[in-house]
Every structure is written in structure tokens, then in C-alpha cells.
């Protein structure tokens, strides 16, 4: 290739020159926008006398938190309140991912059932739950727990599992033995209970996301060519082995990437907990924001927490995806 002459390189006709110019303009524009926003923010903060900085994290939070995985009380500092919130977010997201994957897989497989009723029910479930906003579903479940379910004294029971206004109670390993919950005067005694807030967020996330996961699993299974199953039958593999050795390994390759984004969605959608008062990181940040007025800091913390969780989930799932991908030799 002939090198363009110096004069040509610096003319409008040179693609390289125009490219350079575009980039300089773009960087300058973005730089100016950032400077403009930062400048205005500082001006506004000075005008309104807003203090800034993350030093408030060391001061006492002064508010109670409904549920916590670690010991916490109102005298503890803000950073500990945020830690409680982060743990609560992770707890509901991780349990939600587990249950939604299980449910969604069953739904996806159900779409291939030999039984027309099972097929129809799985389809109806998918279409119903993915076409109603998750916030609405969350509020709905919260209302079911707080208004429709019976009071603590007379819970709905399915075996040792109890549902009431106190939430969902189940047997749990306490002090070296299984403890079964029973209605007490004001709360459930024995076993372990999940609060109505936690249950509402969890159910909202699971019902909504499993509809999407079901669709992903269905598409993944449908992507395995029919000849593969026929070949497996011709070899005399029983149905269970066909699924395990032939269908799943091929379907997983199609399923994993969109499944990853559903896992990320569960984590991000758990932020809707703020609407019903489950103390996740967004609720804690919202309360802290109202108490201290440090909007920039509190919102940065929310974004940072989610960015870190999103990025690490994506990294893990990419690693797993590489493992199940076709090994080309």
C-alpha cells in the first residue's frame, strides 16, 4: 500500500485525519460535560451548605434495621448499616437465583411434556408472570402476607411449614436439634422464620424471573437437533441418560449466556425491595440519604455495590460458560 503524502494526511479527505478529529471532539465534549456537572455540583453544594465526603460512614447510624445477618443496633456506625444492607441484598438474590433456576428449569422442561395439560399450564404461567411488572408482583405478594394471610395465632400449615402474617416459618437446626415452629403469643416460636418483607421480595423475584428462565431453557432444549435424540435412542440409551449425556450438554451451551443476564437481573431487581421496606442496600442508602443529606455519596455506594456484584457474577458465569462451550481441537 502506498503511504499517503504528508499533505494528504492532514486534509479532510484523509480518513485517518477525520477519525482523529472525531475522537478529539468526542473526548472534549465528554470532558466538558463531566467538568460542567462536577462544577455545578460543587457550586450547588456550597450554595446549599451541603457537606460532602465519606467521613459520615464512621458516625452512628441511629436507625434500627428490621432484619440482619450480623449483630447490629442503632448505635452502630453507618458503614455497618450498609454492610447489613449488602448482606441482605446478597441473601435474597442468591436464594432467589437458586429457587428461580429450579422452577424455571422445570417450566422449560414442562413445555415438552407428553401431557397437553402440563404443556398448557407451563405456557400460561410463563405468559402471565412475565407480562406483569415485577414491582406490581412484589407489592401484590407483600399485600398477601400483610393483609390476606391469617394472624400468627392461627397460621396456614403445610406439614411443619407455617404461613401467617409473621411470614414463612419452617423447621430449623437450633442448638443441636431440629426445632419445629409453633404459634406463640406474638410471634412464631421455635424453628426459623423469614419475614413477610423478605418473602415478598423473594416470591416476586422467583415468580417473575422463573418465567423468563423457563423460556430460556425451552429455547435451549429446542435448539438441540432432533436427530441427536433419535441417535441416542438408536444406541439404546434410556431416557434419563439421553437427557444427561446428550440433550443437556448441548442445550447448556445455548442456555448459559442468556441465563447469566437473568441472574444479573435478579440481583438488580432485588433493589425494588425499597418499595416494601425490606432492608436491602438501596433501602439503607435511601434512609441514610434522608438522614444525612449526602446524596452523592449514598447513590455512589449503591452503584458501586451493584457494579461489583454484576461484574463478579458476569466473570463467574463467563468462566462456567467457557467450561461448557464446545472444546475445539
Amino acid at each position: 500500500m502506498r503511504r499517503p503524502s504528508a499533505r494528504k494526511r492532514w486534509s479532510w479527505r484523509s480518513q485517518a485525519f477525520r477519525g482523529l478529529l472525531w475522537q478529539v471532539v468526542a473526548v472534549l465534549l465528554v470532558g466538558f460535560a463531566v467538568w460542567f456537572l462536577a462544577h455545578n455540583t460543587l457550586e450547588n453544594m456550597r450554595a446549599r451548605g451541603i457537606q460532602s465526603g465519606f467521613d459520615f460512614l464512621k458516625g452512628p447510624a441511629g436507625f434500627d434495621i428490621g432484619e440482619s445477618l450480623i449483630p447490629y443496633d442503632a448505635l452502630d456506625p453507618y458503614w455497618k448499616a450498609f454492610l447489613v444492607g449488602i448482606l441482605n441484598t446478597l441473601r435474597v438474590a442468591i436464594i432467589g437465583i437458586g429457587v428461580a433456576t429450579l422452577f424455571g428449569t422445570l417450566l422449560g422442561i414442562g413445555r415438552f411434556s407428553a401431557n397437553a395439560i402440563v404443556r398448557g399450564l407451563c405456557y400460561a404461567y410463563t405468559e402471565t408472570f412475565r407480562n406483569v411488572p415485577i414491582l406490581l408482583q412484589l407489592l401484590f405478594w407483600y399485600l398477601v402476607f400483610t393483609e390476606v394471610l391469617p394472624p400468627v395465632a392461627e397460621p396456614v400449615s403445610v406439614g411443619p411449614f407455617l404461613l401467617s402474617k409473621a411470614g414463612f416459618s419452617f423447621p430449623w437446626w437450633v442448638e443441636g436439634r431440629w426445632s419445629v415452629p409453633a404459634p406463640g403469643a406474638f410471634s412464631m416460636e421455635g424453628g426459623a422464620s423469614a419475614t413477610p418483607e423478605f418473602m415478598a421480595v423473594l416470591m416476586g423475584l422467583v415468580f417473575y424471573t422463573s418465567a423468563f428462565i423457563g423460556e430460556i431453557v425451552r429455547a435451549g432444549i429446542a435448539a438441540v437437533p432432533k436427530g441427536q435424540v433419535e441417535a441416542a435412542s438408536a444406541l439404546g440409551l434410556p431416557r434419563g441418560l439421553q437427557v444427561r449425556k446428550v440433550i443437556l450438554p448441548q442445550a447448556l451451551r445455548v442456555i448459559i449466556p442468556p441465563l447469566t443476564s437473568q441472574y444479573l437481573n435478579i440481583t438488580k431487581n432485588s433493589s425494588l425491595a425499597v418499595a416494601i421496606g425490606y432492608p436491602d442496600v438501596v433501602s439503607i442508602a435511601n434512609t441514610s440519604l434522608n438522614n444525612t443529606g449526602r446524596a452523592v455519596e449514598c447513590i455512589s455506594i449503591i452503584m458501586l455495590v451493584y457494579l461489583v456484584t454484576s461484574l463478579s457474577t458476569a466473570l463467574f458465569m463467563n468462566w462456567y460458560n467457557k467450561r461448557v462451550a464446545i472444546q475445539e481441537r
Partner: protein, 346 residues
């Protein structure tokens, strides 16, 4: 005879299938009468509080919708002026439907949309002979439809540029677009709405903060543009390199290549995925209620929380707006199937 073989094949093919059919039949016999009883037979359909209270626990109170539908559908918009949002929404929906029909896919749609938007905002906001209604009183279905349409109309064109930017050969532009997409997709919509609500006023010159509705719209557009950009990028990547080389060999420049060769093919490929994102945008406008804009979901809360008589029947209210959302979303997903067929035939 045919029917019989269908039943055998689909309901009683093997032991498991028969078991499922029988279990389902038992469940229907056990629970369906109770459910129908609650939904229809014992239900109260008129706006009658006493009848509703009497039927509590045994029958649904659909009367709550008959009584409160104006508050649920229009939010806090002044009662006497509610014909304005109603007319504005009908106009907007009418044009939306018209835009979905192939016969109307002409250039006339552009001026039609401009006119309808102007009329929409005039009706909603007032002025020129109509009394002014400030934006904090807008609410309900008109707000839901307005927010989702504007978010789609704003985010989609922006997303095309961002997607092109992410695949650009210019490193600075590519980096900027990638960072923007990944940052936005890494955080929840709630945090963007908090930003629009709390931080945006700090970002603007002292004392010059726009209305919260505008701030939220800007937030929604910037948020969804990142998601749509990734969808569009999927289509861009599917275009074979030979197409670009062919465009270059007939002497098309970058923008000409994108506009005449790449985008028409890429966008056709991603129609289903784009409509799925549109559905998500529509559903997620419900989140603006967290920053105190009372669209459909929020309007239901204002309608019922303040009235102790009707408050116990909020479940019926939720079912009602869930049905509204479902209708819109299901229609959109069916429409996307149709468009997909059109695109592949053409």
C-alpha cells in the same frame, strides 16, 4: 375417532401422563368451584361499600374498581379536567396502533407523530384556553403510556449511535461507548431514578433544575439506550463482512454504508429482541412510583391508601392493573411475532 386418539396421545400417553391428568382433574374439581365462587358468584360488582364488607372473605369486591377507576386510571389529575388526559391518551394510542399497521408505514407518520405529541402536551399541561395542570398532578395510565413512548422514542435512536460507536474503529469513541454501556447495565434502574430525583438538581447550574418529570425522562432514556444498544449490536455483528467490503467497493462512505447497507439488515434481525426490550420498558415505567411520580401502580396506592373503607380491597385493584399491563404486554409480544414474519418474508 380423531378426538379419541388425540386424547390418548396427549393426556394418557403413559403412566406419568395419566397421573398428571388425573391429579389436575382432582385439583380442578376441588378448587375451581371455590375460585369461581369468589371471582363471580359471590363477588360484588357495584360500587357498594357495605355489600363489599359483607362479602369480605367469600367474594371478590370488583366494586372497588367501579368506585375508584377514575383515580386509578388518571391519578391526581383534577376531576373535572379528566377528559383531557383521556382524549390525549386515546390520540396517542390511536397513532401507536396506526403506526403498527403496514398500510400506514409512510413518511406521513413523522408529521403525524409531531402533531400528536404537541396536542398531547397541550391537552395534558394546558394553556391556550385550557387551565394549566402542573406535572406533579399527572398520573395513571396517561403517564405510563407517555413515559414508555418517550423512553422508547428517545432511547432507540440514541442506542443505534452508541451501538455503532461500540463497534467503531476509533479507539476513543469505542472506549467511551463501551464504558457507558457497561456502567449503565451494571446498576439497577432504581439507582438511575434516584440519581434523576436527588442528584440531577445538583448537576444543573444553581437554581436552574428542570421539572422532576423531565429529569426522570432523561434518566429513562439514558438507561434504556444502553440496553437497546447491546441488542442492536447483536444485529450489527450478524452482518457478514462481505457486505461492508461490497459497500466500500462501490464507493460508499462510513455513514452511507451504515444507513443503506448495514442498519436495514441489522435492525431487521433484531426486531424480536428490540420489541422484548420495549415490553421491558413499558413494564418498568412502574418503577417511577418509587420517586413519587404516580403512574398506574402508584395511582392505585393513592386511590386506596387514603380511604379506609376501600383499603381492604386493594388485592382486587392490583389484579385489575395487572390485567391492564398484561393486555398491553401480551399484545406487544404477539405483534412482534407478526413483524418478525413480515421481515423474513420481505
Amino acid at each position: 375417532m380423531k378426538k379419541k386418539s388425540w386424547i390418548r396421545k396427549n393426556l394418557f400417553a403413559n403412566a406419568w401422563s395419566s397421573l398428571a391428568t388425573i391429579v389436575f382433574a382432582v385439583l380442578v374439581v376441588a378448587y375451581l368451584p371455590g375460585l369461581l365462587n369468589w371471582m363471580v358468584v359471590q363477588a360484588v360488582f357495584g360500587p357498594n361499600v357495605d355489600a363489599c364488607q359483607a362479602a369480605r372473605g367469600t367474594g371478590a369486591c370488583w366494586g372497588v374498581i367501579a368506585e375508584k377507576w377514575r383515580l386509578i386510571v388518571f391519578g391526581r389529575y383534577p376531576h373535572l379536567e379528566q377528559w383531557r388526559p383521556a382524549l390525549a391518551t386515546v390520540l396517542l394510542l390511536g397513532l401507536l396502533f396506526a403506526s403498527c399497521v403496514r398500510k400506514f408505514w409512510t413518511l406521513w407518520l413523522v408529521p403525524a407523530w409531531i402533531v400528536v405529541w404537541v396536542v398531547f402536551f397541550w391537552l395534558m399541561h394546558g394553556g391556550l384556553g385550557l387551565s394549566v395542570v402542573p406535572t406533579d398532578q399527572w398520573g395513571g395510565l396517561p403517564l405510563t403510556i407517555m413515559l414508555s413512548t418517550i423512553a422508547i422514542a428517545g432511547a432507540f435512536p440514541l442506542s443505534i449511535f452508541v451501538a455503532l460507536g461500540r463497534r467503531s474503529k476509533l479507539p476513543a469513541i469505542r472506549t467511551l461507548c463501551t464504558v457507558y454501556i457497561e456502567l449503565v447495565r451494571g446498576v439497577p434502574l432504581v439507582s438511575i431514578l434516584f440519581m434523576a430525583s436527588f442528584l440531577f438538581p445538583l448537576f444543573m447550574p444553581v437554581g436552574k433544575s428542570p421539572d422532576v418529570l423531565i429529569r426522570v425522562i432523561v434518566g429513562l432514556i439514558l438507561f434504556w439506550a444502553a440496553y437497546l444498544a447491546e441488542t442492536v449490536r447483536g444485529g450489527l455483528q450478524a452482518i457478514p463482512k462481505g457486505q461492508l467490503e461490497a459497500a466500500a467497493s462501490v464507493g460508499l462512505g462510513y455513514w452511507q454504508t451504515q444507513r443503506k447497507v448495514v442498519l436495514p439488515q441489522a435492525l431487521a434481525i433484531v426486531v424480536p429482541a428490540v420489541v422484548n426490550t420495549f415490553i421491558a420498558i413499558f413494564k418498568d415505567t412502574s418503577l417511577v412510583t418509587i420517586v413519587s411520580l404516580y403512574e398506574l401502580t402508584g395511582a392505585l396506592s393513592i386511590a386506596l391508601n387514603s380511604d379506609a373503607n376501600w383499603r381492604p380491597f386493594k388485592i382486587e385493584g392490583y389484579l385489575f392493573i395487572a390485567a391492564l399491563y398484561f393486555t398491553f404486554c401480551f399484545a406487544m409480544s404477539r405483534y412482534s411475532l407478526w413483524v418478525e414474519k413480515q421481515v423474513h418474508h420481505g
